[in-house]
Symmetry: C2
Subunit: 303 residues, 2 copies
């Protein structure tokens, strides 16, 4: 089954202990769609400016991502720049220029309204809901958000959550959104607002799944040479939703596997700047790393 | 097989978001020995002052911990006090009074020199080595250390590591000890100094095992009402060494299970102040929580 993602396409300028990349392809929808494309067909809805060239879009073409929904507006493409500390898990945003993204109002063409799997990347929660109002009964709606919306539009975030099956956020966002310091309590509160599953991303510590059915946790893949963590969360979401769309099953066992697939894709993302690692990633490498996750977490039940 | 632990017995005064406890039993050897006592016979070597009463020792008696090696010195027992932030993972030490612990020079009685499993809790690395020099070929030596020794006596710490099989420390200590910001690189460097296994404790994120044979990670048990994290690391070590001593096997599969046993004991520790939770803990509860860890981490290998 195929996937619709609505989010941002951006040019990022990033400095990490491993080096620097200027005006490289980024944005939540870019990372998500390319990561998910290894699992299922992906349709991308976003907006770019007149400075966006066919060259920039080549990774989407190579990965077979449908970009007919990538609108072009007069002006400049969304730009973000940030710097990572000596501890690569510490990030500081230097600049955010929304540019054409500021006026982004996703208007779905007819052929995208019946897609079964939807990922609402980190955009205004009101826009997220406007996308859902255009859709015809998707089988699964997953979404992301961030502290900016949690602080500025918390009511809108909660309204969106009523219509969402899976929320994927990080630890700090889960605590902020719920007002609970304890992550387990935070998760329970958020599950009470609508989603049947909450995936808490913990960066180098992996990810945890909270649902009414079970609790599950998976570690992160241990990388010796992380290059750039930008987009890891969206790549995680791409692997996660990608696995669910590929298999078409939404049972607890399959959602657990989706967390592993997400962790695998996030780990590849971090191995290079921008989407470069995905440009040369082979399906066989994904399979091998998925197997490594099994070896890394397996133990015999204690008597 | 039985276990020898050498470390501290202390009176702790602790303030957490859940409440306050004054002059309660604490210290690395106390937590370790009581946690380990659920798995194997434990012999405790430590020192207390003249203010230490039989009442204070009652938990050791109840748990069958051999306290014949608990020396009594004129003066006051080691005291520590600390406060935990609204985020219970943030700790500030308010006061440390070494008292009789300052002059602690562990002198092993003959009957303790042939114990097979040794845990050197967080004490001066020179004292840790002096204990090993008195031992007769233990089967497994595990040890802990802390930033105080890593900063002040890094050479001595590394000398001790040459004689140690398993080092159990936290993330930050692993990075500090190795001088590497990346935990995987930190682990490799430390393994090069002697230990065949490194267990990195990650608090609410669980623990990871690094060895030349494999990499393994286990999440922490999700607690909604953590009361007091003091002693969680030593309780983890107690479950870890306890499981190895009970089974007598040191293969990779058994070491993985030991990490689970350690995580289980750490989770119980945090549920109350001091050693109170262990005072009423039933073996059946340990078995149940061990099984929950299997459920919490299980997934079918991806195709």
């Amino acid at each position: 089954m195929s996937i619709l993602v609505v989010g941002s396409v951006a040019f990022d300028t990033v400095q990490t202990p491993a080096g620097r990349a200027e005006e490289v392809l980024g944005g939540s929808a870019s990372y998500f769609s390319v990561a998910a494309s290894f699992f299922a067909p992906v349709h991308l809805v976003a907006v770019v400016g007149s400075d966006f060239t066919p060259d920039h879009a080549s990774i989407f073409q190579e990965r077979g991502v449908d970009t007919r929904g990538l609108a072009r507006a007069p002006g400049k493409t969304f730009r973000w720049s940030g710097v990572y500390g000596e501890d690569i898990n510490q990030r500081t945003t230097l600049a955010t220029e929304l540019n054409v993204f500021q006026e982004f109002r996703p208007d779905l063409p007819e052929w995208l309204k019946k897609i079964d799997f939807v990922f609402l990347a980190n955009i205004d929660p009101d826009l997220q809901r406007s996308v859902l109002r255009q859709m015809k009964r998707p089988r699964l709606v997953a979404c992301d958000t961030m502290n900016f919306w949690i602080t500025g539009k918390s009511e809108a975030v909660r309204e969106t959550l009523r219509e969402v099956d899976v929320l994927l956020i990080n630890d700090e966002e889960a605590r902020q959104l719920s007002g609970e310091r304890n992550t387990v309590r935070a998760a329970r509160k958020i599950l009470g607002w609508g989603p049947s599953s909450l995936v808490v991303k913990r960066g180098e510590y992996g990810a945890a799944l909270y649902s009414n059915r079970s609790h599950f946790a998976v570690p992160a893949y241990p990388l010796t040479d992380p290059v750039d963590p930008t987009g890891a969360g969206d790549s995680f979401a791409g692997g996660f939703v990608g696995h669910l769309a590929r298999t078409g099953r939404l049972d607890d066992g399959n959602i657990r596997q989706a967390l592993v697939a997400g962790s695998v894709m996030a780990s590849f993302c971090v191995e290079d700047f921008s989407l470069r690692r995905f440009g040369k990633l082979r399906p066989e490498e994904i399979r091998m790393r998925q197997k490594e996750f099994s070896r890394m977490t397996a133990f015999e039940e204690l008597p």
